[in-house]
Assembly symmetry: D2
Homo-oligomer: 381 residues x 4
């Protein structure tokens, strides 16, 4: 599905087929309508010319714009001329206006993302993973080990986190590791262990898919697909998961802006899969005392910019076990819909990221505190 | 006071003269003693040699270290040699060990900050501003306009924020502005307006000092000095405020690491003024949708690394009015001791930063929510 | 191939089978041998304990290390203990030493990359693309359009850049685009147009592969595979291109450190394909006046850290047409082996990145200046 | 030359006299001309409204704009309205337009810097330090120790670098150091040693001033004042050096954008001192293998945006001795007017930054290579 302009009236009903969507959060702008981003009379671009632009250059720009079937409204200042470009953005998006002689700047007026924008829905979406709904009033905790290491390991941890209050089980069978010499995950057998843990605990399972060639396999076992930070702009993979029927949690890349994250989500949604969760997991900055810099600014900004639910991963976001609980609580207070936390029953023996795994007892303590803060900000748990 | 090594036993009592310091927060490491950072037998540095370092180079390094009155312990691996340097760090800090031929890396073992380190006190400090204590169980809200613009403006806003629950009044009389053509603050008369607002509301006043030559003037009026982000490494100014008796709130620079912030605090404290608050106010990243990136990771890390109280400024930290409340709540949940929020009764007419000022009514709403989250994490208000 | 320890003597000869490698650059360390990174007696890690670590904790750490068949050498300072871990790094790399109670820091002594490290070869490698050698004395210019748009477009541009002095033709048939609504490349037919341009000009062709499922197709047409910045940590793709016999140019990710880039190259090389070029193409910073920040520091650092040739892409690195020549010249002076430049004969009509394409005449002028600077730093062209 | 607007013919002659410093700019706003940035008919701002902005909000914005004596030109798109604000920017710069209800974005059309902009002069400026001109055809090398340590040290090094080809002597008497326990410089006596070295070698001297209270003292000895990166936004200091008659080299802050750097230069120039050099010295990024990331992109961008000369400091820019020469050559090729390099005759004994000082012999070798690259890009030396 590649709707880029008018959305059929029944479209919203369609996208609602898999998930409930009672609007819990009042629209920030008081609007309840889907906004179509691109129609005949929309102002799409603002071009500002250079002080030394010649009349010929300005005429040439206007002529070219009109030759594409768009309108060009010219406002003349003393030093610069402003050209408003009006018309369907699809026609103009690809034009390299900045390459025209005499142009100083080109400012798009319309947002580059459409289907994921808050205005498209006018309300926040719910995404359902198994029987758990994310994006509603209930705050959801996902937990589990970084890597699946053995059946007993993942089942033991699953039971612990379930008991403590987690609703969704995480665990990696395919692991993206910086070094080719590090543990790369158990692959298919890891997926089977996750399925067994799901059978024993009833928790739906989220796990990462790293490559299009593994997608069918992962889909057989997962309740939710995870796209890792390093694959946030693996556009082939984004397209493919957009063609599945499974919910997808998309993690923000280490140097991705919020807009980049939304554009990557747009890839998935534009293929027809609206069940997308966005996950803030820390960006890379100059700081060296923490593994990453958890950007909680992204939480309220995303809640305003998109209808998709927002998950925070404090484990990777700060990367130091003793500080994870503080960041988990901060994520709740900032307005996240869910957190994902790594838990291990024997961190010293973990095959990956043992330094940042919480012990089950610490996790249980954390869930209690999460519940208190969630209540303080009006969320159930 | 320039103690860099042994601290007399009564030292803690001395520094306690202005502020109470009942240890509310249990020491993270279970220690209740001041740690002296530098004694005869401390391991101070670890030098690792290059694979191609010659025996002559290694001997030369060891000889030089010993010539400074330090011990050099050599451990030989097959490819590299590790030289542990033992002795008072004061003797070794200045030595350019990395400049020696054959050296691959030099890793300091001791932290470069001492007086501000958590271990130095073994408990968290309280800092008193007027009659308000920051760093204790009570969560403190500071609020007020970005700039002092007129007596009625600051007094009106002061009364509003006081009524809503703020305890300390902020307001800038000297304004650091990126452009020389922007409003630079009212200077002395602005300080007088602040003093008048204090008289009318009873709230102590925090205001920025930008230059050593203004310090005496600002000290006449302020209850707490603010050092802005752009002056975080104005070392002359840091030294001078360290010689005053006023509390100092030091804001983190836009590209300052947590360690840099602590080193700048060390400048102030090393002059004898222990009444220092550290303020996280957003760092600069690649993100363009927010003014800065509020680094809440810094909150739990600072609470563990230093005994000084931690303030968060969500106003500059995200810079967009509608998102400030979310970040304020997140700061409380992350463990901050205080937040500072900009409030203006007529943001459209503000002479600076109107875009990010809360209206008094929004601020009142925010304080209620801050109170709930504070209670959820065990803080009074 | 997963060699992680001893390398057979004839190994270098093996890897030399596809490319010549006369050592042009004298070894920086005076070594002419392959260094094995991991043997029985290598010091592999340095663990520093916390000031409050107990004797039990220290004993436990040492016991565990020895239980893995490694040696633990303990040096006691007054406040901290240093434990040197000696033995094959393969055994220790996966151990989460930082997760042990009482540990303050864990510092690896050995570099995490092996096969790509300069020491592994002791000389710089040459990589051959078609009949062009990169990494030797000759400085090589790659050029062509951002995207392949039509047969006449790519052939026309190919002839122009060939005439001006380019040796390798670039052009994208599969395009990674931030927006799903942007031109995504012509795919297979684009590859065929590239092949036709190669036939007409004799220039070997470099083009991007974005997904493992397209790899066989791209290999049919390309002389060199490009891995884009967004896929730098698409580890599945890295492994697969490592199993081909084609040279691979790996572009640095926008938030990748130099070490990350080398680790990703290690993925490719560890599969047996040593014909890897590293490409600096700009990192993401807070700067907004340029598209990216070209990190030329990476050039001399990479030339010292790895034997692989270094390419610089000034087009993406600064992203503004008028400034590309300056950065191209700076890349030559910094010591790069090659530059890649985007050229278009009608930038205003380009389907992607027209703003940053040089005109053929500007490119010709640039090549002349590149030749002068190359000569000034001792490179032929 | 790249004149982009009309500059009176005799203007260039005046400014060409090297350091004419007749205040060309009598007042900050009512300037004495090349480009008036702010006239009655200039388009100054573009306001875009939110999709949900009401007619009342749009009317209110237009009414307020007109009440300030400005024109508001309204262009209506289907979803958003664009309001062009026309009139003297001085009237509008301070208005918090973004704080108005219904506003989505506010884009300034005019650059915020004026006196330092290239268009203001229409040609590049020359700055004279002693008898050395920077910004002309000649490429200038500045060199000397990081800190002045003794008379013999600075004089010895001065003679060495003079002989090798340096034209200006650098050396710090007041040192900004991250730690209060590090060597802080010799102060006044250090200035006297510099003066002695100048007497013996004939080289003019550049040295840092850190605080307004030291300014008179430093002016007695220096030929050029240096403002360090950490003081780039110490606006009080910028104003004060702007009131002296000495040339000023302003170093870019670690997180400063190019625009920030230009705004800080505008502070100095707006006080009447046009003899300003801009120095790129590395920004802070996530990279840990180098001390900073030298942003050579800044060189061509600055040469286009401002008439002020551009200096590059490769020593701090990469911070590792062995890589400094490569970055120095890259700076020349990128179009810098000058480089500043730290040299020490006994780096192991240096009191600061010994790790990054070149030996005199290495420096001599470097100058020869700089001369070759300078010639290749059309610069004399």
């Amino acid at each position: 599905m590649q709707t880029t302009s008018l959305v059929p009236l029944d479209y919203k009903a369609d996208t609602g087929s898999t998930n409930s969507r009672v609007p819990l959060v009042p629209s920030r702008a008081g609007i309840g309508r889907a906004i179509t981003h691109s129609t005949t009379n929309s102002l799409a671009m603002i071009i500002v010319t250079r002080p030394d632009a010649t009349e010929e250059q300005i005429d040439y720009i206007a002529t070219r714009i009109r030759s594409w079937g768009l309108k060009a409204e010219i406002s003349r200042g003393e030093m610069r001329v402003v050209i408003g470009v009006i018309g369907p953005e699809d026609k103009i998006r690809e034009k390299p206006l900045g390459a025209f002689p005499g142009v100083e700047s080109v400012t798009p007026v319309l947002k580059p993302y459409k289907l994921v924008s808050y205005e498209f829905r006018g309300t926040h979406s719910h995404v359902q993973i198994g029987d758990v709904v994310i994006g509603g009033r209930e705050f959801v905790v996902m937990a589990g080990p970084c890597s699946v290491e053995s059946e007993s390991q993942v089942t033991t941890i699953a039971k612990e986190v379930r008991k403590a209050g987690a609703r969704i089980l995480r665990g990696g069978a395919f692991k993206p590791r910086t070094s080719p010499y590090s543990f790369q995950g158990l692959g298919k057998i890891g997926l089977q262990f996750l399925a067994e843990a799901r059978r024993e605990t009833g928790m739906p399972v989220i796990t990462e898919v790293m490559d299009t060639k593994d997608l069918d396999l992962v889909c057989e076992y997962a309740d939710c697909l995870q796209i890792g930070a390093r694959n946030m702009q693996n556009f082939s993979l984004l397209r493919e998961v957009g063609r599945t029927k499974l919910p997808v949690m998309l993690k923000r890349g280490m140097a991705a802006t919020i807009k980049d994250l939304l554009m990557s989500a747009e890839y998935i949604v534009s293929e027809g899969n609206f069940n997308v969760l966005l996950c803030e997991r820390g960006i890379r900055t100059f700081e060296t005392m923490t593994r990453n810099t958890l950007d909680l600014n992204a939480v309220p900004v995303l809640k305003a910019e998109t209808h998709l639910p927002v998950v925070v991963d404090p484990t990777h976001g700060i990367g130091l076990r003793e500080f994870i609980p503080s960041m988990a609580l901060a994520a709740v207070a900032a307005g996240a819909d869910s957190i994902m936390v790594e838990v291990h029953n024997a961190p010293e023996q973990a095959k990956s990221d043992g330094e940042q795994a919480l012990l089950p007892s610490d996790f249980e303590d954390l869930v209690g505190r999460v519940r208190s803060v969630a209540a303080a900000v009006g969320r159930a748990m």
